[in-house]
Amino acid sequence: MTTSAELRPRRGVHTFAAALVALTVAACGGGGGGDVASDGGGGAIAPSSQSAQRCSPNNPYAAPNLRSGSLGTEKQWVRSYLNEAYLWYSEVPSINANAAQFSSEADVYGSLDNYFQALKVSARDRFSFTYPTDEWNALSQSGVTAGYGIELMVGSFSPPDRNIRIAYVEPGSEAAAKGLRRGDRLYTVNGYLADSDGSAAGLATLQASTFPQAVDLGATFTWQFTRGGVLLPTLTMTVANVTKQPVLVTSTINYNNGDKVGYLLFNDHIATAEQQLINSVNFFATEQIDDLVLDLRYNGGGALYIASELAYMVAGPARTTQQNRVFERLSFNAKRSAENESFGFLDTTLDGSQGLPSLGLSRVYVLATGSTCSASESIINSLRGVGVDVRLIGGTTCGKPYGFSAKDNCGISYFPIEFQGVNALGFGDYANGFVPGVSNVGANVAGCSAADDLTRPLGEPDETMLATALGYRLNNDAVCPVLGGRSGPLSNRQAATAGGGSMLRSPARENRVLVSRQ
């Protein structure tokens, strides 16, 4: 299905990369030209350049030579920068910067983060964040993460029924070697009941063990899992560097009438995904699949260029590069409209060394849950933007059409939402997620509600979400199948509650895994 014409780059990857760099430079170098505006309390907001890098002597993240300012000047910078860079700069609430929770010299970062969070437009913004600059910029081998090789999901953040289960196991990991499987339910860690323990010590142990970080390498925990209600032998698990395999399953489902449906489980937008996705698409092309089920249920996003490449490989050049169509257009606030920028579909690898294969599909079934986020949503939105008929199966996606650029001040990087990503049709209003259902307008996407079925392996045609997609396809995309009560036709609104629990991975700055921030 792939031709040499399809493989010929039409839109240079270097253009894309250069644009990324230019955008980053612009974002990092910007911030000095903001208008003087009101802080909401009657005071004028000075340009951030006036308070930049004037750091508190008590800020441990600031370079020593920059500690000539104060916590006050750092807060002043935060307010000024939001006034310049934030997508909703004109809606920032009026906050008393001198309040106690923003003013602890003993915890400068905590104070600044509290202040930054308080300034967010809470009705719109679930995503802006801060992070120590050194830690954010640290480079990790693509796909390497501290853990055991299991991805966990939780049913509830509170006892007595947290229902922590394994979503999938990384091949070659300690968890795989010890026989753990998708669906296994965590029973105890170091003797603490995973479902119901409410003690401080139990909570701390659960948090530390289930979502370890690099500093925990070598730590061991004693785990007990149940499978089908039966207690499995006790395991001792050691935190180690695990290499994630971003494309976990590539397969076809073959029908008696000769139809072939490809199935692709894609979990992480990371650099090592590029070649794996190419291999998968080459396989599908060789197999001459008729349709594709793209499983993004656990894919929380990552590198946007990977999303652009995959979207191209699904749609092919005729709908994308040959028409110079936009993969995603970044739309900044009114003060920064000159920075609005469009990114095309990538038809080569990022280094330009290899043309991408493509399937040229006019329809794709996407499996999604609330963990389907950001760059994964860009795939859905960009494909819809070029006329690919996306059918959504599962639950409502997370709703993150936004992006950021890191902006450092005093060793802390600030990430206010800066832009909204829109597709070739100019659509990007899916802040409440893409919702599967009957309607196919705006953020409502035609498809079916279906729950994540942890009792069956991913990629197995009987697994509820995949089975729903396959049944829906057999029903000519008109009727959602009823699978023994496991799924069925729901309105888009009802679908918002389907799709399973929340994926949990390592927390960013502190272990708050079992206490939801959203």
Binding site: A17, L20, L23, T24, F129, Y131, D134, E135, W136, N137, A138, L139, S140, Q141, S142, G143, V144, A214, N241, V242, T243, H269, I270, A271, T272, G300, G301, G302, A303, L304, Y305, L350, D351, S371, C373, S374, A375, C398, K400, Y402, G403, F404, S405, A406, F415, G421, S502, M503, L504, R505, S506, P507, A508, E510, N511, V513, V515, S516, R517, Q518
Partner: protein
């Protein structure tokens, strides 16, 4: 000895000299330098080897570097990424990362193992690592 002997002798001498020169010429060129080939780290790279790789990457990028034991284990390319941190809700904090990865490549020429950085073309010999050329397709 006739007068013809000398020219005949000279002819033989010249011919012999020419053949000798030709033979010497065939043997004398130095062997071609070993070809540079993409490589991977053989066996289990030791801590010293990974530290050498990590130090080079940190020098070239100016950032802290975390490697896994699988660095260059199965291929000649190493990708290093930043900004992939996740939040307390398990989701990517950014999720729409626009920063391309840093790319490093491993090559071997004879017994000389080298790492190179795509970003600035810097290269360095790795003295603590054993490299194996990747099989050619």
């Amino acid at each position: 000895m006739s007068n013809l002997a000398l020219p005949l002798l000279r002819r033989h001498t010249v011919l012999a000299l020419a053949l000798a020169t030709l033979a010497a010429g065939c043997a004398s060129p130095p062997p071609p330098p070993p070809q540079e080939r993409p490589a991977r780290l053989g066996g289990s790279p030791g801590d010293a080897c990974l530290a050498e790789v990590s130090a080079f990457a940190a020098e070239q990028t100016g950032q802290k570097v975390q490697l896994g034991p699988g660095a260059f284990a199965s291929g000649a390319t190493l990708w290093l990424e930043s900004g992939m941190q996740r939040g307390a809700n398990g989701k990517m904090l950014d999720g729409r990362g626009r920063k391309p990865p840093e790319v490093f490549r491993l090559t071997v020429r004879g017994s000389r193992c080298e790492i190179g950085h795509d970003g600035n073309a810097a290269r360095r010999q790795l003295n603590s690592c054993n490299c194996s050329p990747l099989p050619t397709n």
